[in-house]
């Protein structure tokens, strides 16, 4: 059985159909890329799979459990690195890890052990006692990735995990993720706007546009099908070249204000 199965999933916001009867499956131990232009429905799909949003219709399972009827079992099965930061900036790096470990019921000793190991890996161990608000964007991103892995989930969702990271860090992060995928058999479900990254890392790709899945397959299959030489070209061939406007809701506006003025 596939670790993620999605069938006819639909989510509307008022009149706007964000996700329109999509179906796909992700196999266990797979590295799966979910690509699409802005506003295509990627984040909405992830929110539904991760129990944050209820679908209007359709069905899905994650690790065999239904996010709608059995959210707790689903939440135990995945880890997530959100597109926008979800750290508590008033806490230290170590405290953020600790809080996560407690929420996921990781026993204290294991919690300490893994926190050390993960923070060392993302090279934040020296800064474990610093408040997160003093961190740069890249450091926060690394901390979030470390935190998402703390409870050794079956599936990890990474929503644009490498956004704003330099090539060194990106490379470093992916090396670790691939290793984890190999050694622990963690399924990786990620989104990105860097097509070269998807091409290099993903074993299978699904492309979503305007709420519908327009293509899926291995990177090679997508290139062959569109008769292109790079995934970027394949992506453009499949989704067109028009620039998408994402309408800024009140949340978006607040985030922008926040970015412009800094927090409190």
């Amino acid at each position: 059985m596939s670790i993620i199965e999605v069938k006819d999933l639909t989510r509307k916001f008022k009149d706007f159909v964000a996700v329109d009867h999509i179906s796909f499956a992700v196999e266990a131990r797979e590295i799966f890329a979910f690509l699409g232009p802005n506003g295509a429905g990627k984040s909405t799909t992830i929110k539904m799979l991760t129990t944050l949003l209820r679908p209007n219709s359709g069905s899905m399972t994650l690790n065999g459990f239904d996010p709608v009827t059995n959210p707790k079992a689903v939440r135990n099965s995945f880890g997530i690195v959100f597109q926008d930061p979800s750290l508590d900036e008033e806490l230290t790096a170590a405290e953020n890890m600790e809080l996560h470990g407690v929420l996921y019921n990781v026993p204290r000793r294991l919690r300490r052990e893994r926190t050390e190991q993960l923070l060392k890996f993302v090279e934040l161990w020296d800064r474990k006692g610093s408040l997160v608000k003093q961190f740069s964007g890249g450091m926060k991103r690394r901390l979030e990735i470390a935190r998402g892995l703390l409870h050794h989930p079956k599936v990890i969702f990474l929503d644009e995990p490498t956004l704003g990271l330099d090539p060194q860090t990106r490379n470093h992060v992916w090396t670790y993720l691939k290793e984890l995928n190999q050694s622990e058999g963690i399924t990786i479900f990620f989104t990105t706007h860097y097509m070269d990254e998807a091409d290099r890392v993903a074993q299978r790709i699904a492309i979503i546009d305007q709420g519908k899945i327009v293509a899926s397959g291995t990177p090679l299959e997508l290139r062959t099908r569109t008769n292109t030489t790079s995934l970027e070209d394949a992506f453009l061939a499949l989704t067109g070249k028009t620039i998408r406007e994402e309408e800024a809701g009140s949340m978006e506006r607040m985030r922008m204000m926040h970015r412009a003025h800094g927090r409190r």
Binding site: L52, L87, D88, E90, L91, E95, H100, M251, M254
Partner: protein
């Protein structure tokens, strides 16, 4: 249990770490206490109502509690915008426990704030007449804090952004405060008293004033009864609305 504890601890850490917030939130009660206390004091005395500082201080303590408590409930909106809420919502813990942890944390912080204002008002000349009743006074503070924390949670769960915040401040918090008898004695009858009767804050003020300086309007059993029932009600509404949050 562990969830509740860790989220409670988080609220406390956040509180103690933002020194500017502690000091900032003391400014307003201090201003009210000094300006009104010393400004109206002589008039109050002449009207035969006794020492105004004694009367006013419990009201100002309650004021600082409801501001802190409501704000800590409203903080959910910030956490929602700036991500941290999602981290707790996708964790395999019940939302009820998340809500309880946050609310207890917020209530603890608000109570601490109230106690600080109590000490400040003592510097301004306030003297509690009955020290033995202090534990009960703290209980009244805790109940008031819980009540308004839960109310803040309920409001924050229903709102999606801070746009409505000003509305809440001007049309809910300020009226609640000014119409609670925190600043003036409630007349024996009249519109003012009728309105105050329906304001849960009045009972918090009355309980605290009764316990600290032996001035009561409604009577302690009624005060505690109303506080307990309304707190429970708001906790239920708050946790219901919180459980329905979609990010």
């Amino acid at each position: 249990m562990k969830t509740i504890y860790i989220l409670w601890l988080r609220q406390l850490k956040r509180y103690f770490r933002s020194k500017s917030r502690i000091i900032g939130s003391l400014g307003q009660p201090l201003l009210f206490l000094l300006a009104l206390g010393f400004g109206f004091g002589p008039t109050f005395q002449k009207a035969g109502q006794g020492n105004y500082m004694q009367f006013l201080a419990p009201g100002i303590i309650v004021m600082s509690i409801i501001f802190t408590a409501l704000f800590s409930g409203i903080e959910i909106i910030w956490d929602r915008q700036f991500g941290f809420l999602k981290e707790t919502l996708v964790a395999p813990v019940s939302r009820l426990n998340i809500m309880i942890g946050r609310t207890l944390g917020g209530a603890t912080v608000a109570t601490l704030q109230g106690i600080i204002v109590l000490f400040i008002s003592m510097l301004a000349g306030f003297r509690p007449v009955n020290w033995a009743a202090t534990p009960l006074a703290v209980l009244a503070m805790v109940l008031t804090a819980l009540l308004f924390c839960a109310l803040g949670t309920a409001i924050a769960s229903a709102l999606s952004d801070m746009q409505g915040f000003q509305l809440i401040m001007n049309f809910l918090v300020m009226p609640l405060f000014f119409l609670s008898g925190a600043l003036f004695p409630l007349p024996a009858r009249g519109a003012m008293t009728t309105i105050a009767r329906f304001n849960p804050l009045s009972y918090g003020v009355d309980a605290l004033r009764g316990l600290l300086v032996n001035i009561v309007h409604f009577g302690l059993p009624l005060d505690f009864g109303v506080l307990a029932v309304v707190t429970l009600l708001f906790l239920l509404v708050g946790s219901f609305l919180f459980s329905r949050i979609q990010v």
